[in-house]
Symmetry: C2
Subunit: 339 residues, 2 copies
């Protein structure tokens, strides 16, 4: 059913398809450069709820509903749901997905969770464990600030290296049923610790992990940067991107001609005051669905390497003076021939 490739990768001999996907975002994301492309933009970031956390749960619920609707499928058609978010004990997923009653695997990989859920979902379908699964991740600016930094009411200042957590959720239906895009392989990341201790500079913490996974991917598949229309990281931002280029150059890879970062694409830094870029495990999920996937569906692009990146910290680990290690999970998405 599949081939083990190198030390960290799988190539699916029966590649599962992305049957549909959906993106739901907040007001600020809707005002950004990709605003027109999202499936749903909230008028109010509380999405009619009483708390930021419930709003984030609603994002997940809506994203799954939209993705299922596009594929004309019902929750009971989904064998598994792979889901996660950034909050302690992943409560956005627990409360957002409760009503669907789909057997659930909760996942945590910080902002790499979109790549992790898609990897596990593709593994399950390719193995014949499911005809269809759905994956979903989310983040919310206000719930994340409360969780990781300061409550909004505190009105703290942000350094330029800080990223802006995206309010959004992206969902993907992964299926045996043919569609114009398929997940042909994955490269699973390891935890990488470069000794970064600044929680206001996540890009620097995650770039070494992105480098590790991308280099492992090239090594495992015997491929090179030019083999991909685009190599897309999750939320390194402007600062993380520069570090990634430098680190990969040291390993002999130049991806500067065909690299995109979802965190850079989703906001207009000058107009929207978002400093280093967008972040959060909703960031890569909604940007892939709305902006990059259509290029693969149309055939404009043939193949991308999607590498969401995560910073592994909590306020507890940070306050205890621990480093901020990173992890990144790679997913190869291709235009399906003949579709």
């Amino acid at each position: 059913m599949s081939e083990i490739v190198g030390t960290q990768s799988l190539r699916f001999s029966e590649a599962p398809f992305i049957l549909s996907s959906a993106s739901v975002v907040g007001k600020k994301e809707g005002e950004g450069p990709l605003g027109e492309l999202f499936d749903m933009v909230g008028e109010d970031d509380k999405f009619g709820c009483e708390s930021w956390e419930q709003a984030e749960s609603t994002l997940q619920k809506e994203a799954v509903a939209l993705a299922l609707g596009k594929a004309h499928l019902k929750p009971e058609d989904m064998r598994y749901i792979f889901a996660g978010d950034l909050l302690g004990q992943t409560i956005a997923s627990s409360f957002g997905l409760l009503d669907y009653q789909i057997p659930m695997f909760g996942v945590y990989g910080a902002c790499s969770t979109a790549g992790e859920t898609m990897s596990l979902g593709a593994m399950a379908v390719a193995a014949g464990y499911a005809n269809q699964v759905v994956t979903v991740t989310s983040s919310h600016f206000a719930s994340a600030e409360k969780q990781f930094r300061f409550p909004l009411e505190y009105g703290n200042q942000r350094p330029m290296s800080a990223t802006w957590t995206v309010t959004g959720s992206g969902a993907y239906v992964i299926s045996k049923q043919k569609s114009p895009v398929m997940i042909s392989g994955i490269t699973t990341g390891r935890i990488v610790d470069y000794g970064i201790r600044d929680s206001m500079n996540m890009g620097a913490a995650m770039a070494p992990a992105a480098c590790d996974t991308i280099a492992a991917h090239f090594r495992d598949f015997g491929s090179k940067p030019e083999d991909y229309d685009q190599i897309i990281t999750g939320d390194l931002g402007y600062i993380g991107q520069r570090i990634l280029f430098d680190l990969l150059k040291e390993k002999g890879y130049d991806i500067s001609n065909n690299h995109s970062d979802c965190g850079i694409e989703i906001f207009d830094r000058d107009e929207q005051d978002t400093d280093s870029g967008g972040s959060g495990c909703g960031c890569s999920a909604v940007t892939l669905s709305s902006y990059f996937l259509p290029k693969l569906i149309s055939g404009e692009w043939k193949k991308i390497l999607f590498v969401p990146t995560g910073a592994l910290l909590s306020t507890v680990s940070f306050n205890e003076g621990m480093n901020v290690p990173g992890i990144a999970h790679g997913v190869v998405i291709e235009h399906a021939p003949g579709m």
Copy 2:
């Protein structure tokens, strides 16, 4: 490679084996009824570290080292590690497993995480994605009290319905290589919400989820309670066990003759003042490894259904007045014929 069974289960036609396992626990667990059976008992619950969180990371690191050592394998022999814990952003796993440099899938299912990691690990091996993987989960009394209830220094009183978080970590090497015990199937849980709002009565919150998964398991496999030498839940405790019996009786199943709960087994309630029993995603992991698995290895038992249960809450969701839903993941473990 596998068979989809019913709506929530898989039966592995090439069942993966549990090649080895290990348990590391704290002082109090070492003084309990299973004390002699654990592989390692700490003399001091800080395990030589500066914080409770680092101590919990050390538990995971040691459990993995011991499990690998028993199987005469090295970290580089492991294709994946599936890991999780109860702390916000699963930092016990992130920092505990960093040095192993094994491609990692971080998982969160509250105290059901031991069942979730073993399910995903067995799926990966049975599908041919790996020859060997390792799964590990942990909990620590002091880091969990700080996370979910009150700092120890506060000296709060505990109601009798409260469970006592186990300080411990259990690791499992799941492999294609034959051994006397195999994982023959899994039943993946859904989120179940019975409207419980008392974070000091986790057993009541989790029992409905255990009931849902166990009933789904019997339905999917066409089996009945007598087909199992033992049906073993994770950490329902005395109160949750009574509720589970009642709920399953309403569905026509009586498991009262062959049910065990890891949370009940691990402590002596009267001698150790542990109220309703032990809990935490280390509880089921160390109790299975030390106490139940040997009965399957020797052939005294032929088949068990292992169902760790999790309560899905965070202090944020609890303080915002949300319910405490539950989830439970079932793993069928059998004595391997001819071994």
